[in-house]
Amino acid sequence: MSRLVVIGLSHHTAPIEVREEMAISGDALGEQLRRLLDVAPEAMVLSTCNRYELYLAAPDEATCEAAQAVVLQGRTRARAYLYRHHDEAALRHLFRVAASLDSLVLGEPQILGQVKHAYEAARQVGAIGPLLGRTVPRAFAVAKRVRSETRIGEHAASVASVAVELAGHIFGSLAGRPVLLVGAGKMAELAARHLRQAQVGQLWVVNRTRARANELAVRLGGTAHDFTELEALLGEADVVLCSTGASEPVLRADLLARVMRARRGRWLLLVDIAVPRDVEPRAGKLENVYLYDIDALRQVVEQNRRGRLREAEAAERIIEEELRRFIQSERQRELVPTIRALREWALSLARTEARRTLGRLSPGANERDRQLVAQLAEAVVNKLLHVPLSTLKREASDPGRPAPRDLDEALRRLFALDEAVQEAGAVEEAPRPREVEPLREAKQ
């Protein structure tokens, strides 16, 4: 029987150079998954900028070693940073990763999409079987539960996304609101991208070097303007992102006071990511002007991060609860072939005895009597098996009790079910997630 194993490295264990070395995507990922299928029955590779992880269904330790050799391909440096989890620990890790509890930015939403992408890539090459086909979708459900029952992803956790959050506190919807970028710095570009996702309206770029403004405007789908148009654009924009390399403030308080008069007091959010600052601090005192420099933004990020940490405790409790539930259902599942075989055996015995009894009945017995005898036999079997099977399922789901394999073995020996179990086991392999079925057949 295969066990769930995860072999990997992440931002917790490995420096960026090693993570870069292990990163894989596109065709190379498909090729690696195909090579993994030569050594393991099921495999899924999760490769992001912060982690490389291989999820395996491994019958033994030799399979793990072989799979590790496939992914390392002689990269000896990475070996030192690898971690390996088995069974419950591997499952917990998967649930925590999908729920973004193991992410660099706690609660960030991208990781769930990345795990889904990894699952889809593995499914396409036929690397998802019964084990990963049950565990990974369960991880998606757990992640969704964590997101809906906690506020772990509620507040922005990066400087770029804080700008979007702040704009939301002032304007509500950002749809259609004009945004002005003063300077063409990387951070402002990142923040502008976040704003773009919030479906802001026009995006204007102003930079002392017109060529750089043009380049950035093209990348962001905005329009470039001359620096001389700054005051006019300030009068129109609702959100201004500043990131010039100027040593003196570009937006002085008197300029902004003039602008605010022209705006007739309309709210203005100024996000100043530049160091030295682009906006004169006094401007923050102007009415309906909200000025956030880099320190203020970090202050908000830190507040949010603390909030997320508090929510992470609730999320961990959900993970443990789901883990217990899943393990219980898995333990019960292990007994299904035996239970099925036992029921089949008992029913066939009852049917045989019913037929024999019916043979001894007077020839005058009609069809209804025959049906009644057959039903009686089946009812006796069901009644007899109900209590022991219910107890068995309960015992199997109780982690404090013997492992289901022991119960399974005892039942098979008591009722000599080996032959019947083999037949039922063949049937048991069949119920898998629908999308997985054709892939497994292709592999076979």
């Binding site: 506020r151 509620e154 507040h155 702040l166 939301g168 506190h169 002032i170 304007f171 509500g172 705006r263 007739r264 007091g265 309309r266 709210w267 923050g284 009415e287 309906n288 909200y290 956030y292 203020a296 202050q299 908000v300 507040q303």
Partner: protein, 271 residues
């Protein structure tokens, strides 16, 4: 005392508690609906009480006590109507205690001497009550605006700030309530003035009229709301200043209401 008053007050208290929890932590949508449902039930229950009072000869224009009770009902009704599309639990958490205090104050006060029925008087009380209720919603929104604005300026958002409505939504609420409340309040002032003129004509000494500060306060509140409206239209007045002006205006309205209520306690009539 109206028969459903204890039930009404309990429902208001339950709704208020739910809204307060909603302000301090994220609630599932079901609980928001429960809070709103509770509030709706309370509103219906209080409406039944007002109906009962009318049947027993104590309609809102009877005296200050019933007018105050009516205003407390209107405040909730106006809130529910105004927030059909945009729920503002934080405003509800502010308004409901005020409404409950008004209800209790109304029910604790002794019945005043019934005033002679007059259409002008009824129109005055009804328009003043409706105007007060509408402006109360604007004032509630203004308090929230000032709290959130202060947090945003100081770069420190409390849970209230994080879950509170955007500043622009609150300012829009302020603008709409002023636009709607001001004409109603003006009607109250005009009918009040007409009623007063009739009283003077009927021989009440001018000195006793001038001795009542509520007339000056009512005029002051009207002037404040008029200047707010004018500022909005002509100079783009909005945000913090608009919120402060609304609070000053509503403060004057509340003072007028308190004076009438106190006069009612001492047996004086209204207006």
């Amino acid at each position: 005392m109206p028969p459903l008053f204890p039930l009404t007050l309990s429902l208001y208290a339950a709704a208020c508690a739910l809204y307060c929890v909603a302000v301090s932590q994220a609630l599932p949508p079901l609980l928001y609906r429960a809070a709103r449902g509770c509030l709706l039930l309370a509103l219906v229950s209080q409406a039944a009480d007002i109906g009962w009072l009318c049947l027993h000869g104590q309609p809102p224009p009877t005296d200050a006590r019933e007018a105050v009770f009516f205003i407390s009902w209107l405040m909730v009704g106006v809130y529910l109507l105004a927030t059909l599309r945009t729920p503002l639990p934080v405003v509800a958490a502010l308004l409901l205690p005020v409404s409950m205090v008004l209800q209790v104050a109304a029910r604790l006060a002794p019945a005043g001497a019934p005033e002679a029925h007059s259409l002008l008087r009824s129109l005055h009380v009804l328009s003043a009550s409706l105007g007060t209720a509408i402006l109360a919603l604007g004032a509630g929104g203004s308090v929230v605006y000032l709290l959130l604005e202060r947090q945003l300026k100081r770069h420190h958002l409390s849970p209230l700030g994080r879950r509170g409505p955007p500043l622009q939504t609150l300012d829009t609420l302020n603008r709409r309530t002023t636009l709607l409340g001001f004409p109603v309040f003006t009607l109250a002032l005009v009918t009040g003035a007409a009623f007063l003129a009739r009283q003077l004509y009927e021989g009440i000494p001018l000195r006793s009229v001038l001795a009542r500060p509520q007339y000056v306060l009512a005029l002051l509140s009207w002037l404040l709301f008029a200047s707010l409206l004018l500022g909005r239209v002509t100079a783009g007045l909005r945000g913090r200043r608009a919120a402060l002006l609304t609070l000053c205006g509503f403060g004057a309205v509340l003072a007028v209401l308190t004076l009438y209520y106190l006069r009612g306690l001492t047996g004086g009539g209204a207006p």
